[in-house]
Structure formats: C-alpha cells, structure tokens
C-alpha cells in the first residue's frame, strides 16, 4: 500500500521526462528505496508479523539490487549511446558493451576492500550489496560531510555578510547597463547585415571584373567588423549572466538576513548552533554515550539530508536539463538515490539499538559492518575538512568582489 503512494508521488516528479521507460525506472527505484525505510520503522514498531517482515525485506532487497546493478546502468548506457550520433545504428550492441565495462569495474571495486570472507559464492547477495554499499557509503559520507559544514554556515547569522539595499541596486544598475550595451551592439550588427544584404543586391546588378572586385572587398571588411562586434557581444553576454547570478546571490542573502530577524529565523538559528555543535562533536569523537538519543538524532539528520538531497537533485535537474540529456540525468539521479538509500540502511544499523539490529544483520548476511562504519567516518572527516577549506576561501573572496563595485 505504501509502495503505491510512493510510486505515484515519484511519477509526479518526472512529468518533465518524455520517455515512459525512464519514468517507470525512476519511480520504481524511489518507491523501493522508501519502502526499505518503512520496513525499518515497522521493525521498530513491531507492526506486521516477523515472517512477513523478513519476506518483504528479502523481496525489497532483491528488487533494489536488480534495478541498481542491472536495469539502471544498462539504460544509462543506452541513452548516452543514443545521444552520440555516430553509434546510433548499433545502439543495443554498444549499450551492452558499456554495461559489461560497468560490471567489470564494479567487480574490481570489491578487491581492495576487506569486505567479505571467501566462503561466499560469486553471485551471492553479500557480494553485490557489499559493492553497492561501498559506493553508497562514500557518497553519503561526502554529502553529510559537506552538509554538516554548509548547514551552519548558511543559516547562522554570524556568517551572513552585511548586504544593503544600495549594494543590490548598484548591481542591478550594472546589469541593466550591460544589457543596454548588448542591445546597442546587436542593433549595429543588424544594421550592418541589412546594409550588406542591400548592397549585395545592388552588387548583383554590377557585372564584370570591377564589380566582382568591389563586392569581394566590401563584404570582407563588413564581415570582419561583424565578427569583431559578435565577439564583444559574446563577452558582454557572459558578463550579464555573471551579474545576474551575483544579484540573485545578494538578494538571497538579504532575504536570509530578514528571515533571521523573525521568530522562526531565530528558532532555526538556535537549531543551527545546536546541530553544528553536534556535527563538530561527531567529527572529532567516535563513541556515542547513548544509543537511543544518537539513533533519533541520526534519524533526523538522515531525514533532513534526504529532503535536502531531493531538493538539491531537483534544482540540479532543472539547472542542467535539456531535451537530449534529461533521460540520462534522471537515470543517474535514480542510481545515486538508490545507492544512497541502500547504504543509509547499512549505516543506520550502526545507530540502531541492539534489539533491532538482528533483522538487518539477518537479511543482509555476514557483511563486515565495522568496515563500513570506519570507512564512513574517514570519508566524512575528509569531506568536512575540505568543505571547511572551500567555504573559507569562498567567504574570503566574496567581500573583495563587492568592494570593487
């Protein structure tokens, strides 16, 4: 029942994608990922009988692995290959080749990591999950590291640069001036083209040797001028885009400042301090002093990070979609999302109270969970530190940019 609601929600997501197959694949991935979380909640609440829960876990896991390892990469390869015009005829063949390359690297991924004991077969669940888990855990650690640093930075008023109305107005004036310059240059181009066209018509009437020489020389200087002006126009258009984005950025900062002065803003500001302290603690300490509290907090962090992930994914999707690549992008997003969800289940086991860990261990087989926890912590640390560095550099650079106005 929950499966179908998730399915319809995710179908609504994809109204922009043309191909039916891509819609279905994305919805299936999303639906099964959400069902996994629901199963964890059922596990804790004790809803349904344990045998049916076990059955649903196994079913869910098989389907997700099938989709993530076989279906999605194959379709990604297929759509990428369809976009390349040279290989268009033998699409299926090249898509299969891409898929086999993917499987080869996927398999090789398992070798350097001490993931499993040698007594398991080749196509067992443990082998596949372990590899999916490694990729997903890396991704999750990268994202949470960045999120842990970025979240306090964005919402805490300490970091908000002081933006005044006059700054924004000055930028807007520059933007409009740039647009005016683009317009005047385009008018010159249009006028020159029209003159060339009219003169070209007159030239056609002139025959003979001198007529030919005249036409060649005049159009040459005309088109040289044109290409010069066109280059200036291209540079100005790039400048206008940058100014537009800077103005959007300033407006966003100003709105955030205003928001922080309201009650809701102050409440979230306090939460931001609280979470930043927790994230710092998590960066530098390894042991938790209370399983239950940490489980709730990790649950909240995961829920907000999933929400943030979905929002960022949709924004990203809008930003880079075009008619050609939207299929590929949606499939890549489905792949990332599926891996993210599978590995968050793996990691949640770390924070779950002992009594609930049993079913997860039972279903997922004998994986070396400690390895995943350590791997997550390492990547989290690396990601957090590098995002601190990155944000520090960006923060330092921004005030200098605005001082030149």
């Amino acid at each position: 029942c929950c499966f179908f609601t998730n399915f319809t929600v995710s179908l609504y997501f994809c109204f922009q994608v043309r191909q039916y197959v891509v819609q279905v694949v994305f919805s299936v991935t999303f639906a099964f990922s959400c069902t996994m979380f629901e199963l964890i909640i059922f596990e804790i609440l004790g809803a349904l009988s344990s045998t049916s829960r076990y059955f649903h876990w196994k079913l869910n896991l098989y389907v997700i692995l099938l989709v993530l390892i076989f279906v999605v990469p194959f379709y990604i390869g297929y759509f990428v290959v369809s976009n390349i015009r040279l290989l268009h005829r033998q699409r299926l063949l090249f898509a299969c080749m891409v898929w086999f390359t993917f499987m080869y690297f996927f398999w090789k991924l398992g070798d350097p990591f001490p993931i499993l004991s040698p007594k398991h077969g080749i196509l067992s669940i443990e082998q596949l999950i372990s590899r999916v888990g490694v990729i997903g855990v890396t991704l999750m650690a990268l994202l949470s590291g960045f999120g842990a640093v970025n979240c306090p930075y964005t919402y805490m008023s300490y970091f908000l640069r002081n933006v005044t109305e006059s700054d924004i107005l000055a930028l807007e004036r520059r933007l409009l001036q740039t647009m005016d310059m683009i317009v005047s240059k385009k008018k010159r181009i249009a006028m020159t083209r029209r003159q060339m066209y009219q003169r070209g018509e007159d030239q056609n009437k002139q025959t003979g040797f001198w007529g030919m020489i005249k036409s060649v020389t005049s159009t040459q200087t005309g088109s040289e001028n044109l290409s010069l002006i066109q280059q200036e126009v291209d540079a100005l258009e790039e400048l206008s885009r940058q100014l537009f984005l800077e103005t959007v950025d300033l407006q966003g900062t100003k709105e955030r400042i205003e928001y922080s002065k309201t009650f809701q803003g102050k409440y979230f500001n306090f939460l931001g301090y609280f979470f930043s302290i927790y994230c710092v603690w998590k960066i530098f300490m390894v042991k938790f002093w209370s399983q239950h509290i940490s489980f709730i907090l990790v649950g909240i962090i995961i829920v907000t990070s999933i929400r943030g992930l979905l929002i960022t994914l949709t924004k990203f999707f809008y930003a880079i979609s075009s008619s050609k690549s939207s299929n590929v992008i949606v499939l890549v997003l489905a792949q990332i999302m599926g891996m993210y969800f599978v590995s968050s289940v793996l990691l949640m086991r770390m924070s779950m109270p002992l009594e609930y860990r049993s079913i997860v261990t039972e279903v997922l087989g004998e994986l070396q969970f400690n390895f995943y926890h350590r791997w997550f912590d390492v990547i989290f640390l690396v990601s957090a530190l590098s995002s601190i560095l990155f944000l520090y550099l960006a923060h330092k650079q921004a005030p200098e940019k605005h001082m030149t106005l």
């Binding site: 647009m179 317009v183 008018k187 537009f244 950025d249």
Partner: protein
C-alpha cells in the same frame, strides 16, 4: 533610419518551451542550432518596417528580451528578474503545446510581468484567481505562441487548438502555433508572419501614440 526610442518586448514562458529558439527564429530568420539553458536574460533585435508599403514607412528596432526561469523559482530569482520588466511595450507569451502546465503557468507569468503577482510563495495559482478585469486596464499588447506543434499527433490536434483558442480569448491576444525548428512557419506571406507583423505594429503604435491605431480593449467580450 533608426528611432532613438527603445521598443521592448518581453518573451515569457516556462523553461524549456522554446523561447530562445523562437527569438532566434524571429530575429535572425534562422533555426537555432544549439539551444541551451538561458541564464538571466538574453536579448535579440528584430528590424521591423513599420507601416510597410505606405508613405509613412519607418524602420524600427524591436528588442526581444527573453527572460529565463520558471514561475516556481526562488523569490531571490524573481526579485532579480523584476528589473527586466520595466517599461515594457509588448509581451509574447510562449507555451509548449505538448505540456498543459506550461499553458496554465502563463497566467502567473503575465501577472508577474505586469507587477500584479499576488502569490509570491510559488504555489500555482488556479484559473479562478485570474482576473480579466486587470488586463482590460493594461494597454500592453499580448501575443500567444504555442511551440512544438509538430510533436502533437494528428488526432489530438483539434483538442489542442480548442484549448489554445480559450487561452487566447482569456488574454485577448492573437495566437500562433508553430514549430521553432522549421523556418517556413514565418515565411513571408503566411498568416503567422502577418499576425507577427500586426503584433509588432501594435507595439510600435502604442509607443508612438498614433491616434489612427488606438487599440480598444474595453467592452469587448463581456
């Protein structure tokens, strides 16, 4: 030859409907080879002969401002976009014939451009909140263009055309349905080219203020 006054026409619509291709087709008479996402606003210029064929013929430059984005954008993007909406002489509303939502969003686009946007939170305003009375007072000429006409199967065409006819009645605007990758839709002498020229003449006459082409909007369809 060129008027010193500026004539500005906005091209509005959801992202991906084909505004950039349309503007390129109108201004350069060529199909746009590599359409890409428009960041901010891109401008192009069309040379228009006002009152062509008459002794009062004059050449004007019409600036087509193609504003990118969607109606559900963040409010910071919307307030930045608003700087492009100053002193507008005409608006071209573009929607995708294969996407009903883009047609519905045109109500919000027109409200946003005429500074009458009443719901800044990004919730799609339903048809019932749209008030025709507000458009009666406005003197800005509108033109409705539907794109991707070639992607509609033959049997669905009459439904789509009925829907766009209702739209054009709501906006009190002429409508053109075309495919931006085919230049023959605007070939000289076609009804589309005539409608386009008529729209530009309306914008120019609104700017110049010729009494002979005063454009009555009151008491038309009530």
């Amino acid at each position: 030859m060129a008027s010193l006054d500026r004539v500005k026409v906005l091209v509005l619509g959801d992202s991906g409907v084909g505004k950039s291709s349309l503007v390129h087709l109108i201004c350069q008479n060529q199909v746009l080879g590599n359409p890409s996402w428009t960041v901010g606003c891109s401008v192009d210029v069309r040379v228009q002969d006002y009152k062509e064929g008459t002794p009062e013929e004059k050449t004007f430059y019409i600036e087509l401002w193609d504003v990118g984005g969607s109606v559900g954008s963040a409010s910071s993007i919307k307030s930045t976009r608003a700087v492009f909406y100053n002193s507008v002489n005409g608006i071209i509303l573009v929607h995708d014939l294969t996407n009903k939502k883009s047609s519905q969003n045109l109500y919000r686009w027109s409200m946003e451009a005429l500074n009458k946007d009443s719901s800044p939170t990004g919730v799609i305003v339903s048809n019932g909140d749209y008030d025709r009375e507000q458009f009666v007072e406005s003197t800005v000429p509108l033109l409705l263009i539907g794109t991707k006409f070639d992607q509609i199967p033959e049997n669905k065409r009459s439904d789509v055309l009925t829907r766009t006819a209702f739209l054009s009645e709501d906006f009190n605007a002429e409508e053109i349905n075309l495919d931006c990758t085919n230049p023959r839709y605007f070939a000289a002498g076609t009804s589309n080219a005539v409608k386009l020229s008529r729209f530009f003449d309306k914008t120019l006459s609104g700017k110049i203020g010729h009494s002979s082409t005063i454009f009555h909007r009151t008491g038309k369809r009530y």
